[in-house]
């Protein structure tokens, strides 16, 4: 399945893009996606523990099972205000 991944804040600099598409086997989790993304964008590895992950507009944990059509967003801790 194909999963669209969006990057926000300085994750755009770390990856050099705002968006990418990753092909994963069915029933993969966000943890599986993260492994693949770190292979593609090694600079994300240092941010692993603080990376926030959303599917659509809701936060999800690394155990979340991805489904075809999911839009994943990765970003650093938020800083509004």
């Amino acid at each position: 399945m194909e999963i669209a991944v969006h990057f926000y804040s300085y994750f755009k600099e770390l990856t050099g893009c705002t968006r990418t598409t990753v092909t994963l086997a069915p029933d993969c989790s966000i943890a599986d996606l993260m492994k693949q993304l770190i292979g593609l964008f090694p600079k994300l590895a240092a941010m692993q523990n603080s990376t926030l992950i959303a599917v659509g507009v809701d936060y999800q944990t690394r155990s979340y099972r991805l489904q075809e059509g999911d839009e994943v967003s990765l970003f650093p801790p938020v800083q509004g205000g």
Binding site: H6, V57, V78, G81
Partner: protein, 129 residues
Amino acid sequence: MKRQLTIAAEPIDEAGLLSKRKVSENMGAAVYFLGVVRGQEDNKTIRAIEYESFHQMAEHQFNLLFDQLEKRWPIESVRLVHRIGRVLVNEPSLWVEVVAPHRGEAFAACQWLIDEMKRVVPIWKRPVP
């Protein structure tokens, strides 16, 4: 609970917001907070802060916070404006108002909302030297 949320690049119109305040007869407190860009960030002088948001998710997360706010306190209304894009030093980036029956719950709700916003709403800032 009435709610009004604005996430936009336009300067925050404090006078306009205050002129539209509505407080019903049973309400005894209107608390508002103005967040202003400081001239220093991490001990460095800056000219501005550039705010970026994941707009659709930010709106959704704010509304989830408003849902919780409504369950925790007897709030009549909440209005929140967050500016995005470049905000110069001394200019406001955040305006929050809570109207409630008593000051205790109005202060508590306003403080809680801002604290939670800084934890979950996807808005980021980048200092501009």
